[in-house]
Symmetry: C2
DNA sequence: TCGTTGCGAAACTAGAGCGTATCGAAACAG
DNA sequence: CTGTTTCGATACGCTCTAGTTTCGCAACGA
């Protein structure tokens, strides 16, 4: 047994890496992805400049732009709203609230931008994002709708794939097309109006 | 009166410009916008290469990238479906069919990509696109919904902005999230299912 | 104190794209 | 035929950015 035992966490000699710099790099990366909407426009130079950091510090930690992006997106752990315990309607509102807020937020748009635009050029990155972020949400929504069918709050003959797209797409398109909420949040009554509409549909009762 | 009368369309001497080259340039531009999703990634070099054309031929016709893009997008004259005369439900289906097909098509995505991603960097270009392409469609949809309210086919208390976003957003999100129709068209029954759902809503009757 | 490693800044090489110029060939008018 | 203009191709100088390397200093353990 030497003194550098493997029970010791192998603290390497020398100056330790700055956690602050690392956080700044991640933040800058997320900001820039949200603004630029495309990975090839994301330059390491720009990240370094915005983070107030030398390029060396970035290249020392991540060997490629894609690695950096993966790590950065991983910190957006896609907070799902608490969906259990209340009425299906209330849970739906909570779900829409999150969707709406993220569609407004620069950060929230990161995931959507990449998932929608980079399928051709970075298929495996997109697949990782789908698995980590999008799928869980889709499943949560599916479970929510199924619960509603069971409790009788929703139509028993729902077309699930179509219904799921309608819930998410309506909110996102509303935010995008009205340009509402460049200030970070959509108007406060939008969620209620959206739930009302989604529940009732277009046809008269 | 000289022989070069202004009644003559002033045909200039020399070899006339090739209409074929012009078409090839426009086509290449649209393809690349659809693929790249961002204007700054659109290079004149790439357009020339894909069109099989010298750069000179492009610069001779358009003085800037933005001019070229405007002309290219103008050829996509956003065919609105015939919306009059049938039932509101049938017109809604026709509307959704166009939206769905364009969400699948590389060309159709040009407009959406630019309108959604370039607002910050090319505000006036985006505004021109909104005026020329997006507004007319929104107005057509609004008129369609209002007509439905008048005829009693739709709820009289519709929340119009929300309803419009729901119609368009549902279809687009369905195509995007299911990845259906990379082959140019969504599954054929999607439109009917979507109309059914939009009319009926989530709640039981 | 000394050795090691991280830090930001700056210099450097390489490549991509831009806009222009030039080339010989081709397509028109007269 | 002559003169004019466009054609695709190629080359040029320029700028911008990427990714690497170098530098002097800072922060740690021993």
């Amino acid at each position: 047994m030497t003194t550098t035992d493997e029970t010791r966490p192998a603290r390497p000699a020398g100056r330790p890496r700055s956690a602050k710099a690392e956080r700044a790099i991640i933040e800058a990366t997320l900001d820039l992805i949200g603004e630029r909407a495309s990975l090839s426009e994301l330059s390491i130079e720009a990240v370094a400049a915005r983070a107030g950091v030398g390029k060396t510090t970035i290249y020392r930690r991540w060997s490629s732009k894609e690695d950096l992006v993966v790590d950065a997106l991983a910190t957006l752990k896609a907070p799902l709203p608490p969906l259990e315990g209340r009425s299906v309607r209330a849970d739906l509102a909570a779900y829409l609230e999150v969707v709406g807020r993220e569609a407004c937020d620069v950060r929230g748009r990161c995931v959507m931008n990449i998932a929608m635009n980079e399928t051709d050029r970075h298929p495996q990155l997109v697949e990782r994002i789908r698995q980590a972020v999008i799928r869980p949400r889709q499943e949560a929504l599916r479970a929510l709708l199924l619960r509603g069918i069971e409790t009788g709050e929703l139509r028993p003959d729902l077309d699930l794939p179509v219904a799921m797209a309608a819930v998410v797409g309506s909110m996102i398109w509303y935010v995008k097309s009205t340009g509402s909420g460049e200030g970070g949040e959509p108007a406060e009554d939008v969620v209620e109006r959206m739930v009302d509409h989604l529940m009732a549909g277009l046809a008269p009762r």
